[in-house]
């Protein structure tokens, strides 16, 4: 095609500012709000919040440098989130997309969450179009790949996962302005994944580890979840929930905050049944929204010896 046209109609570049007030940038960019919301809405996760604040600071400075004409390369923003199930990785990834959007590092700020099956096909020629479709959907936002290590199956040398990996690596390198990739999964398996895939290791700049929640944090998470749904524990229920958390943790398939969410769903079911069977007259709002101890202690978790069962 002929040489670029319209050059004369392009707006003159705004002159680089002589000084930038980072405090003010912090507030006007909306980063302050995102971080405050993160602090408020998510219980615990202190190390994660610290890392996000550090990353935000880096990006603010980077942006200020760019505006002064000091930096030219887009910083590498691809990240890895490691931690056990239900520790908040997906939730934080959503906030991260918002943060990057407000800082102007991504144009749209949406999150596309996928696993191996969304990227890898079943037969020859199936994988590349599938991976590209997903990449196109994620452009302008964040691509979140859950349990990323399933992409790599060294035991099967014909595995189509390798094809998806190659396309991903290429886009992560060449289109850093167009999308940010967050890889997520359990810590140990992610470590092994990075060891055997140096391409990913060298393209991922930020590694954030999500610790398990303490019993106390899980109780606060339970209370917060209930509050959002306009329910509350009575005193006995709070004690029962604390007991429940300690027992549940010792049982298989424990998934931190997600286990709590599921337990609360079942608790509400039992509360509704209790009200339905026992109510003699009209019920007021308080009765309809109070969870009592027996709604929790009826859980099978209390019947099972520790370390057995599914925790239903």
């Amino acid at each position: 095609m002929p040489a670029p046209a319209f050059a004369e109609t392009e707006l003159p570049q705004a002159a680089a500012p002589a000084a930038i007030d980072l405090r003010e940038e912090f507030e006007t960019s909306g980063v302050k709000d995102v971080l405050a919301e993160l602090d408020r809405d998510l219980i615990g996760l202190a190390p994660v919040k610290r890392r996000i604040r550090e990353t935000a600071a880096l990006l603010l400075v980077e942006r200020a440098r760019r505006r002064m004409g000091l930096a030219h390369e887009t910083p590498t923003l691809h990240m890895s989130f490691t931690g056990n199930p239900g520790t908040g990785k997906t939730t934080v990834a959503l906030r991260m997309a918002d943060l990057l959007h407000r800082l102007g590092y991504i144009r749209k700020g949406h999150l596309v969450s996928v696993t191996r099956d969304d990227l890898v096909g079943q037969y020859i020629g199936h994988t590349a179009p599938k991976t590209k479709e997903i990449l196109k959907k994620a452009m302008g936002g964040v691509l979140f790949i859950d349990e990323a290590y399933y992409l790599y199956r060294p035991e099967n040398e014909r595995d189509y996962g390798q094809e998806a990996i190659e396309i991903l690596l290429q886009v992560m390198e060449n289109q850093r302005d167009d999308l940010v990739v967050i890889l997520a999964g359990y810590a140990q398996r992610m470590d092994r994944f990075f060891e055997s895939n140096p391409g990913f290791r060298s393209r991922v700049a930020h590694h954030i580890n999500f610790p398990d929640y303490s019993d106390d944090e899980l109780l606060r998470i339970a209370e917060q979840m209930l509050e959002k749904q306009n329910y509350l524990f009575d005193a006995k229920a709070t004690a029962a929930m604390a007991d429940y958390i300690a027992r549940r943790r010792a049982q298989p398939h424990f998934a931190n905050a997600r286990s709590i969410r599921n337990a609360l769903d079942r608790t509400r079911l039992r509360q509704a049944n209790r009200l339905f069977e026992s109510a003699k007259g009209p019920l007021d709002a308080k009765a309809l929204s109070t969870i009592s101890g027996e709604d929790i202690t009826a859980s099978r978790v209390f019947a099972l010896p520790p370390g057995k069962g599914e925790g239903k």
């Binding site: 670029p4 046209a5 319209f6 196109k136 959907k137």
Partner: protein, 139 residues
């Protein structure tokens, strides 16, 4: 002879940044964007070949630019256009269409005169490029 079809075709060719901005405008209006290519530049040839599917749920123009670059790699010697469809009336209709790639050499059209009954003359235009078989017309 420079082919002028679709929007912007009397302007100098759009740069990639300008194409991207136009495509983003289409997407922000909820129009589905797609790419089509051809080596038959006759203005009555409305059926160009599709490059992949129309894009219904890609919020950012980078997605189309990625496809455009792939299309140029294979068919960089032909005409490529962006077409934007609006489905809000209940059917798909073209809202915007513009050329984003053209052959280096555009030989233009020959005007043929056919003498018919009486002193009538029929006129028709034929792209010189169409003298060669499809697929081998440019470059």
């Amino acid at each position: 002879m420079r082919i002028t079809q679709g929007a912007f075709s009397f302007l100098p060719d759009l740069t990639d940044d300008q194409i991207r901005a136009q495509v983003q405008y289409c997407i922000d209006n909820k129009w589905a964007v797609s790419l089509e290519f051809t080596d038959d530049p006759h203005p009555r040839n409305t059926y160009w070949d599709m490059w992949g599917h129309p894009m219904f749920d890609n919020p950012d123009a980078a997605a189309l630019m990625m496809e455009l670059n792939a299309c140029r790699k294979l068919y960089g010697d032909r005409y490529i256009r962006v077409v934007a469809f609006d489905s809000s009336p209940g059917w798909e209709s073209v809202k915007l269409s513009f050329i984003v790639n053209r052959p280096d050499e555009e030989p233009g059209y020959r005007l043929d005169r056919q003498e018919a009954a009486g002193r009538m003359i029929r006129y028709t235009t034929r792209p010189y490029a169409a003298d060669r078989p499809a697929g081998a017309r440019y470059g």
